[in-house]
Amino acid sequence: MSTALHAGLGLLRQAMLLAGIAIAVFLLIRVVPGDVVDAMALEGSLDDDAIVALRAELGLDAGALTQFRIWAARALSGDFGTSLRFDRPAAELILAAAPTTIGLAALALAAGLALGIGLATAAVLWPRSPLPALVEGLNLWSIALPTFCVGLAAILVFSVWLGWLPIIGQWLSPVVILGIDIGGQVAKPLFEDLKEAATAAHIRTARAKGLSPVRIVLRHLLPNALTTVVALGGLILAGMIGGALTMEVLFGLPGLGTLAYQAISGRDYPVIQAVVLIFAAGVVLVNGLADLAQRALDPRLRR
């Protein structure tokens, strides 16, 4: 199968996934008993005629299919409806919150990759040092201790007990906590991969011709391991979304996670829908990109 055809099929699959998720999210939120008009009627300001008129105005009297078509068409053009709480377009709220989340994710990802790749490489270079054990330990850390727990513990220790950091509004704790989590997820498989790659013939050749171990690792070993990191992309991203949701709320950062939290507390369904869709679109997009990148990086997958 040619690369272009495969990429096209991959794209089609991702697009179908996204459409499926959009339908699912729409239906799920629609299942919620009661709509905006019900809520307003409960507050007592509407009579029966006004209820019918308002439903018609908001398009809530149309069939589910029509409603979905209208909603999807609007969502595709960037209109996710209006927040019931803030009386501002949901898209505007998302645009305002996105930079924080993207910044947090980018910083945590950079810290995590530096830690994971650095540690795995060092552990392969010095296999008799305690470094391989550290790789195992870090991996167990990220499996066993969810970032939610670590974040709460960090607040209690560093903010409440020691008083070193403010509880809210600081980036250091969330970046370090998410970074360690990502580092632990990356280091172990990367270390295993590098260890196996180190036995390959071209590494033996490089060693035999007298290259320094550092040069062998940097020039001949690490490029092979890049695919491992890319393959972990989806897993890392899923962790980052859970992390963003909880870290932002715990540390009071005004990102998408906090927006979702406020929207959920306020039963602000258009905003909830929009945030969930944006997150899902992000995951689908990154998974698709990771798949393409892996093909580009690893000639064995192209065949």
């Binding site: 799920l28 391989p132 727990c149 209690l156 949701l245």
Partner: protein
């Protein structure tokens, strides 16, 4: 070659880790089952005069922001958090492995449909999916179990399919089919016992994640109902008073950390011991 490199290296999650993990799980289970009848306070009774009171001889872990006994809530929360996680894991096994295996056994089209649906669910991170489901279903213990079970089912289904495909090429499956057993009978009588180890391992991996996700959802106000004591609800309620009453946050946070650590240690060990897929890498 990897054997020589890892020899002499302390293995994380070794037998020491297993013992520790099992001890933690045993303790948590005992606390969840017998704790509520051993602690002489009611987890729901409020004593507003003693709000955020620090630990004393009568109330070993102090009181929370509504003057409720933290220890009583902690053990009641242990019961609820563990029960929800267990229920969700069982549902994930039933849905994921059950549907997945039956679809695989029935042939190409059922398998394509079922795994297409699972793929769609899997594209969303489980926390996000569970969150969306909870928004739709409303709060409560049963919706929570349902949401978590559905969110983790695809992971189970993938493991079930991978093990089924590996077993499908084994001689005993062909022998059973030649002897005239139907595909479902072969699945039930012959394949299932052979892949049970892998399924149990995956369940052990899902369990701590279900515990954490339950806490996060409750923290978001989407888990169990507000007065029900679960670890996440306790954290959500007490975290606003973390500065004046850190003991009320510390107790559920420590319980959550220790429980997930215990489950992860056991799960990790099970994976090394039982999971036949692990030779193929992650």
């Amino acid at each position: 070659m990897s054997a020589s490199a890892t020899a002499g290296m302390p293995r994380a999650g070794g037998t020491g880790g297993l013992a520790l993990g099992l001890a933690v799980l045993g303790f948590a289970l005992l606390a969840g089952v017998f704790g509520p009848s051993l602690v002489p306070h009611d987890p729901l009774v409020q004593e507003l005069a003693a709000r955020n009171a620090p630990p004393d001889a009568l109330h070993w872990l102090g009181r929370d922001h509504l003057g409720r006994d933290v220890l009583a809530r902690l053990v009641a929360g242990t019961r609820i958090s563990l029960a929800v996680a267990l229920g969700a894991t069982l549902l994930a096994v039933g849905l994921g492995a059950g549907l997945g295996l039956v679809a695989e056994a029935l042939g190409r089209w059922p398998s394509f449909l079922v795994f297409g649906a699972f793929d769609m669910v899997r594209a969303m991170p489980s926390i996000l999916l569970a969150l969306t489901l909870m928004v739709a279903l409303g709060i409560g213990i049963w919706p929570l179990i349902l949401a978590l079970g559905v969110a983790f089912a695809p992971h189970m289904a993938l493991v079930a399919r991978a093990t089924w495909r590996r077993e499908g090429s084994a001689g005993y499956v062909a022998a059973a089919r030649v002897m005239g057993a139907s595909s479902l009978a072969t699945l039930w009588r012959h394949v299932l016992p052979n892949i049970a180890g892998a399924l149990v391992t995956q369940a052990a991996i899902i369990m701590p994640r279900a515990i954490t996700t339950e806490s996060v959802l409750s923290f978001f106000g989407l888990g169990v109902s507000p007065e029900t004591p679960s670890w996440g609800r306790m954290i959500a309620g007490a975290s606003r008073y973390a500065e004046s009453a850190p003991h009320a946050v510390l107790a559920p946070v420590l319980a959550l950390c220790i429980a997930t650590l215990g489950f992860a240690l056991v799960g990790n060990r099970l994976r090394l011991a039982l999971d036949p897929l692990r030779e193929r890498g992650r």
